[in-house]
Symmetry: C3
Subunit: 312 residues, 3 copies
């Protein structure tokens, strides 16, 4: 079954296949679309505009039918397990679920048991595979390949869903990764990059990938943090001037304007921030197609409920 729960388990060729498929949807407006109605549901247990609307758009572009599911009005309120929720949806005819969940690795126990593919739209401080893939797509559109590229990932490395997967994947694909950011947010476990001083990093790399400060996950006095952060580790107007002429800026958004990046740089010529969002739709189309195409061909479309586990 074509779950997508993490990028780490994808082979290099699988990653490139997804990028090619996304690029195909983008440029030719071509690619797989189901011949008959197919059904998905989006289960968002955490706030999200970008990711959620992006999946909804991808589903509509593919011609899928989305069954609305709101956590606040669901039986999850009655204490139903995620497994039972998914199997309930499967039994009524939903053929894949997109899930964002606050718990790290929520998918681990599930992926062997559920009868429809799970697409992970973010788990706690863990993975966010479609974000990683859309970052890769945006970089490849710019530079053609990853070999020899230098990428700086800047900011709250420890709490970021994006930093770990991106560092791992970029390294795997041949890029060199640097990290920069506050001492207290270093991620010692992430061995796919080298720490550099912020100013050195900015001047060195082809891609400056800024991370979002997740104020909602920190307890410090946030206005002080914000102000200090910008001058110390943010992409200020001064720092942007020192970037190489061809270098680009990425940010997963939502942006804290004036914190990770100067307000006036969000839509500057180097910025690919809105381009990333646009690419997000094509990546999600590719990932949904990857999950649903085998089902359309009947390969795991054996939702033969009642599932029959024998009881001795």
């Amino acid at each position: 079954m074509k779950h997508l729960v993490t990028v780490s388990t994808l082979e290099t060729n699988e990653i490139l296949e997804i990028l090619d498929s996304a690029e195909n949807y983008r440029t030719n407006k071509q690619g797989w679309k189901p011949e008959e109605k197919m059904f998905v549901a989006n289960l968002f247990f955490e706030a999200s505009t970008r990711t959620r609307c992006s999946f909804e758009m991808a589903e509509q572009q593919l011609g899928l039918t989305t069954i609305p599911f709101e956590v606040t009005t669901s039986s999850v309120q009655k204490g139903e397990t995620l497994y039972d929720t998914i199997e309930t949806l499967a039994s009524i005819g939903v053929q894949s679920v997109v899930i964002r969940h606050p718990q790290d690795r929520y998918y681990e126990a599930l992926q062997e048991k559920v009868s429809i593919p799970i697409i992970n739209a973010g788990d706690g401080c863990g993975q966010h595979p479609t974000q990683c893939l859309l970052d890769l797509l945006t970089i490849r559109q710019e530079f053609g390949s990853f070999k020899g590229l230098k990428v700086a990932i800047v900011g709250d490395l420890r709490h970021s869903r994006v930093a770990r997967s991106n560092a791992e994947m970029l390294t795997k694909l041949g890029a060199t990764v640097y990290f920069a950011g506050p001492e207290e947010w270093k991620d010692e476990e992430n061995r796919h990059g080298t720490y550099l001083d912020i100013d050195e990093a900015i001047e060195t790399v082809d891609v400056v990938m800024l991370l979002r400060i997740q104020f909602e996950r920190h307890e410090e006095n946030t206005s002080e943090l914000a102000q200090n952060y910008h001058s110390r580790f943010g992409l200020t107007v001064e720092r942007e001037r020192k970037m190489k002429s061809h270098s680009i800026i990425l940010h997963p958004a939502p942006v804290n304007r004036g914190v990770e990046i100067a307000d006036e740089l969000v839509e500057c010529e180097r910025s690919r921030i809105f381009k990333q969002m646009q690419n997000g739709v094509y990546i999600r189309m590719a990932v949904l197609a990857r999950a649903l195409q085998p089902i359309e061909r009947g390969l795991n479309n054996d939702n033969n409920y009642q599932k029959c586990y024998m009881v001795k």
Copy 2:
């Protein structure tokens, strides 16, 4: 107008017609679908995954257009009556409403006044007609008819929306109904069955219909209740072994695993729990078709607003 607010007011032949229509949607993938766009809205004033998603799926399968309606973002927050909400929806073109509401018999004052059919998706501790109908469909698929069948309804009989309607309908259709469960949850007003000891009931019947303990409606110490309940009245692995070889298990779900039923029995060979959910979609298609078909034929499509009550 083809409201469906309770099963009690349905004639036997009407019940069988709905079951036949549902079976037709299921097996032949055939049955009525509207020729032009038709519009419905789902008004859920209480949490629900199964019922709500099941109606959404049924609507999509029929090719209906669902106008989103969220209680939390609606004028219900401004104190609007249910009647005015329904007539508002009718006036903008909604042709039928599916309603779940915490108030028993919320539909009583409404059904004579509103201008579009109401499909009751559950009222307080009252009725849940589509649940009853999907239970009947699941039983008929197994045994071909209801005559002579023995059915045990087990659990919180007093607070269950399902118990009363099911007992009444099964009796009407020729089955014999037994009840089992805690003394304090007996429903003295329900005269369509006989109380039996849980173990005797389990060994006797063709269908063991478990009820959900609605922890959210009880005040007792729930973990104590849960533990005692399973050994005293739950379907344990031991009890399951004493069921007749052909007997089946039903549960309206969401299941409290390890309480009403042992965890490992939820998906056992006898269980029709996920089958019930699947049947739920077909039943809802049948019920929606029953409400909307006459409107399509113009039979009550006279939404000639402004309605003109003369004032003397």
Copy 3:
């Protein structure tokens, strides 16, 4: 770009064009529909049944695809600005946004900057242009034109989104406007009408336009307010008898029955309250068509993200 943020900036001929377009959708079931999929999103930061469902219905009737957006589950929770939310939606392919927001004139800073048209579905105590337009449509259907008509606007003039725009537009179109209501709710800034005693107003005019008391925005003892209000300023059964034979009643709804209007008058022969709701769908179709048609023709469909503001 064809924003619709206020009616005040519309020329008379633009107003009449929108009314004609709406009438065309209503009577001939004709008018513009997009040839390919087009995408909109509804951003409701305040409760609303009527307006929201009406826009959803208008979108469905036009064959648009609505991308679901719920404030409670969005990044607005993470402090994202409205501008960034809109540009995010634009970058994933949304082509117009419908916005209701509690802040007066939220659109002012936005309308010059965003890359897709905004349709204002109500801002604080400010504007509600589609409500104004549907009121105008309902009046024109009745009387053919506005010249020489007398209209009374009755009630909470100071807090009403409707009163100011309607008075201004009706005056512009040739009608004479009167106001009536409690002293403390007079709106001294509104110079498009003359204050009259309630009983005099009722007997004089062709259209009695009642305003909703927004109990949720007042602090007084509301039941006392309600009772006094009805006898002092409400449309009682007695007052209705003194209306001219051809006069009609409007109310933007939701109605507080027995307060602004006697319960039994809500659906009386003179009432156009549900007719207004019906017209609301056609007005919104016209307004959406006005925003989207130029985009379909490629006139502002240059969503060429990344937008490139040069940074010196």
